[in-house]
Amino acid sequence: MKKVLIAVDGKKNSKEILSLFQNLIWAPENIILLHVEQLEGNSMMTAMLGEAEMSTLKESLKGTAHKAKLDQNANNILNYYKSELENSGLKNIRTVIREGHHSDEILKAAEEENVDLIVLNCSGKTRLQRLVTGCASREVEKNAKMPVLITKGDGCGEHAQNWAGRESYAIR
């Protein structure tokens, strides 16, 4: 396998990804670590914005403390994953930060980079949360042209119901 896109967020999931490449999936030649900055909180607000509005939003956030914090957060996350993956012997890791709507940006990046596989974590959202905030893993799974692997980090699957209390953003 040549190229894999791994979409990461603040939740700790590196163990699962590592065991994936060690046990189940061939280790890829190139890894792209992607983090999408969500400019608009957790609502689906961004999904409703048009291209023009989105770019206005991006513009207006430039240079603000909020954006600086998002950037720093993104760098922390990507550095964490990069070092974890590198420590276990995976090579050619590139990090990418994008901003905007989660699933859209993942799909766009995957298409631009022409990857062979997308790896992302299950959002672990309950039904209601999914309804309100949308679900990137589902959107990506539905619309991607390449295979999608959905990992199950802490609090996913059947245990999703208990997830809300454990919303642990480990890396901040």
Binding site: L24, D116, K145, P147, I150, C156
Partner: protein, 169 residues
């Protein structure tokens, strides 16, 4: 110990699991090949049945010609995929036939057999068809406790087809 569950049906989207399996996945020790027989056609009807009703349905279908056709189809499907997998050098392929709701049965088997990965195809359902007939990959993705790999075929990239939607109704 690596065990992989591959769920297949007769749609062309299922063939995507083969390419995914050959290209991406490390050779596992055992492959479980699962086909779920849908007793109730393609509608969502079956999702609304309770356990008791479903078992009555199973009971009443036993021995009928309809059931025999379904079983024959299941064996053809599994036979095809088994041959394909074995031709790529894999020895330990076990086939399983289940009856009921595909999403549920896939999850149940995954749990019972304690698999490490589930591979499903993407049937390319979009929009209305997806809404009416449900989508196995979505159900599995949502509720599984192990990683889920969704294969993609060329068919899944095709545009949403109104005619197909009408046919499904």
């Amino acid at each position: 110990m690596k065990k992989i569950l591959i769920a297949v049906d007769e749609t062309s989207g299922s063939k995507a699991v083969l390419s995914v399996f050959n290209n991406l996945v490390r050779p596992p020790e055992e492959v479980l090949l699962l086909h779920v027989i849908r007793l109730e056609g393609k509608s969502l009807m079956i999702d609304m049945l309770s356990e008791a009703e479903l078992s009555t349905l199973k009971e009443s279908l036993k021995g009928t010609e309809y059931k025999e056709t379904l079983e024959k189809k299941a064996e053809t499907v599994l036979g095809y995929f088994k041959k394909e997998l074995e031709s790529s050098g894999l020895i330990s392929v076990r086939t399983i036939i289940r009856e009921g709701i595909p999403g549920d049965e896939i999850l149940k088997v995954a749990e019972e057999e304690n698999v490490d990965l589930i591979i499903v195809g993407d049937n390319g359902k979009r929009g209305l068809v997806r809404l009416i007939t449900g989508c196995v990959s979505k159900d599995v993705e949502k509720n599984a406790t192990v990683p889920v790999l969704v294969g993609k075929s060329d068919a899944s990239a095709k545009k949403y087809d109104v005619k197909e939607a009408a046919a499904a109704v």
